[in-house]
């Protein structure tokens, strides 16, 4: 934590050891830590803190529970490839209970869970994958004779932090879709308290990993929004950073799969893309580690809004999204735009002076006009005598 300089860690033995443990060379390991710090949106220098934490801290014990799910979240994390993440899952954290990855079975594995919980009481991280059935006292999902509700309550009691991974654990996900026969609910509803949620179907593995490493580095979970989603990953709509956004703003849309607009990479909004109502960082960090252009929208399929309750698995794919980012743009003109600026004091003074001079001059001219007319008349009168006054009377 103390070390804020990545260069100074170059020669550090601990870093060497950690890199060797993860089957990476030293540079690869430091690059990986820097990438994690970037995903978290941490300031400069935090990469060193992350590297130091990963290298030196005791691996946090993780207990991973599976309920109503498809194991997609686990599969997604296992398939993250830069760098070999399964190494990290097994070596950076101490995965003490995971039904998919454990070779052991039956009472043996249940005993492992109990041991880990007792040994790391109050220190372990509980990760929950899958929704929890609540109807009929939760009998629709049982492990080792215990219902999901019982298991979750038991494991959460002494956990340092609870992380709900995937949309099912976060808000019910696919199992909670109407008519929801098992009464599937998210972790927070069952525990009755807010937990960190990493929604997505599956979620981006780096969002989960970054959350864990944040906990490891700083001893606390990252800042979350009102739904428990880490702000570094879920504070922006997919639409806001979408690579096809310019096409939306210019009104260029794919109207049908395979039409000209679709082939040209136009916006998928009219095909039902849920990017404008889905908070996630897919459009920023992509998905699947297969290089650029490898996330659903880039591949030509509209976003289905898998992270968002009420959107994913609820709204049909072709249904048009409700734009959540309608903002009063500063660029748009007012109904009546003020044109020009008001008179300044100087210009008003000059104008007043000119007006005054003109008025004065006008008055003087008028005065003189009268005088000259009078003078003319006098002259006329002199010439023509009394006749002149008579003739003007007609």
């Amino acid at each position: 934590m103390a070390n804020q300089n990545l260069i100074s860690l170059e020669q550090d033995d601990r870093i060497e050891a950690a890199a060797a443990r993860l089957s990476m060379d030293r540079r690869e390991f430091l690059q990986f830590c820097a990438a994690l710090a970037t995903t978290l949106g941490l300031p400069q220098g935090a990469d060193a803190a992350v590297a130091e934490a990963v290298a030196t801290k005791k691996r946090p014990s993780v207990i991973w529970l599976h309920f109503q799910e498809c194991t997609g979240c686990t599969e997604s994390i296992l398939r993250a490839e830069h760098p070999t993440l399964e190494k990290l899952i097994l070596d950076v954290i101490s995965l003490d209970y995971h039904e998919t990855l454990f070779a052991a079975a039956g009472h043996q594995v249940e005993a492992a869970r109990k041991t880990a919980m007792a040994e790391n009481k109050g220190k372990y991280i509980l990760v929950v994958e899958g929704a929890i059935p609540t109807r009929d006292n939760g009998i629709y999902c049982k492990i080792g004779g215990k219902t999901a509700i019982e298991l979750l309550t038991e494991c959460a009691a002494d956990a340092a932090a609870v992380i709900a991974i995937g949309s099912c654990a976060s808000w019910g996900g696919m199992p909670s879709t109407d008519p929801n026969p098992t009464g599937a609910k998210g972790v927070d509803k069952v525990l009755g308290k807010p937990v960190v949620t990493i929604p997505g179907c599956p979620p981006n593995p780096y969002n989960f990993l970054s959350t864990v490493v944040h906990f490891l580095t700083f001893g606390a979970l990252p800042a979350v929004d009102h739904l428990g989603r880490p702000k570094f990953a879920y504070s922006r709509l997919i639409h806001e950073n979408c690579e096809r956004r310019a096409h939306f703003d210019a009104g260029r849309f794919a109207m049908e799969f395979g039409d000209e607009g679709h082939r040209k990479g136009h916006c998928l909004y009219k095909l039902g893309c849920k990017g404008p109502e889905t908070y996630a960082n897919c459009s920023v960090i992509m998905f699947g580690d297969a290089g650029a252009g490898t996330w659903p929208v880039a591949c030509g399929h509209p976003c289905i809004g898998c992270t968002e309750q009420g959107v994913g698995f609820t709204k049909p794919i072709h249904t048009v999204a409700k734009l959540k980012n309608i903002e009063p743009s500063a660029f748009l003109p007012r109904i009546v735009e003020e044109k020009g600026v008001g008179a300044s004091l100087g210009s008003a003074a000059v104008l007043a002076a000119v007006a005054g001079a003109a008025a004065g001059a006008g008055a003087m001219v008028a005065k003189n006009l009268g005088l000259s007319h009078k003078a003319e008349e006098m002259e006329q009168a002199k010439k023509e005598g009394s006749k002149a006054t008579e003739s003007t009377e007609v």
Partner: protein
Amino acid sequence: MTTRRDFLRGCLASGAAAASAVLPETACARDTLKRPPEGLGLLYDATLCVGCQACVAACKQVNENPAEFTAMDKLWDTPLDTTGHTFNLIKMYRNGTMETKDSELNGFSFMKTSCMHCADPSCVSACPVSAMTKNPETGIVGYDPDACIGCRYCVAACPFGIPKYQYDSPTGKIGKCELCRHRHKDGHYSACAEVCPTGATLFGRTEDLLAEAKRRLALKPGEWTTIPRGRLRPAQEKVLAGGEDGKGQKHRHGWRDEPDQSYQAQVGNYLQHVYGETEYGGTQVLKLSAVNFQKAGLPDLPPKSSAATSETIQHTLYGGLIMPIAVLAGLTWVAKRNVVPEDDDQKGGKS
């Protein structure tokens, strides 16, 4: 010798003559014109508009208009009003903190500004050379730069401030929306409606659009309903007469094939008024809004058009040249009364 009494009597007589000539004329005063039955137009729904300005960009593109800069950096097309080079613009009503969309208080709302294609357009009435014309079939108010003499009467006449003159050019023209009539022959309709992502701008026959607007007004705010996008198809799609070619011959064709774009959206909190249904005898572009139309920049207009009023007055006064002849007669009579022959007594030289 002319006395004041004589003069006034003369005026009265010529006035009466003029009035008697006028009376039969007033019986055939011009009524406010109606929309043509197959008239085309747009329906703009402010509650659906998201302010993306795709319509502004598309309008510029298809009408080959340049960007207009009002900011120092000259990066974005930011016209403050419709101009000779900006035929369509999204403006924004702003109030207080601008928190809520479509709220008059502490809210904001968008409003499209473009030609309303009036049933009885003032610009057409004011134009002295028929450069502004209203197509009897489509009802599109079109502009012919070859006929235009550049007097800009249309600019002054329009109650919506739509026709604008290109002051930047020595051979300036009037710029205004013509519903993309130059694209109709290719089966394209108004570009603003073609690109609108939410169907806030909808193209179609005005009669169909009016029915659609009234359907929306009858729904409960917040209710889900089907909102068409792009072009409103009447229940029984007819082959509509499209644009015109240069020779004035009508093409009979439909619009370009397009997939049905209608979608489910929530009904806005509308004011119970379709702007353009009756204003000045109706307009072919209709508007729905949740914010007071006057606050959104649309004038409160009576059902009788100003074109009807002014043309009634003008055509009455000038009908059969009665009024000019009467006035000339009156003036001649007054002048004659005041003329004193040269050989008369020198005293009478002035009146």
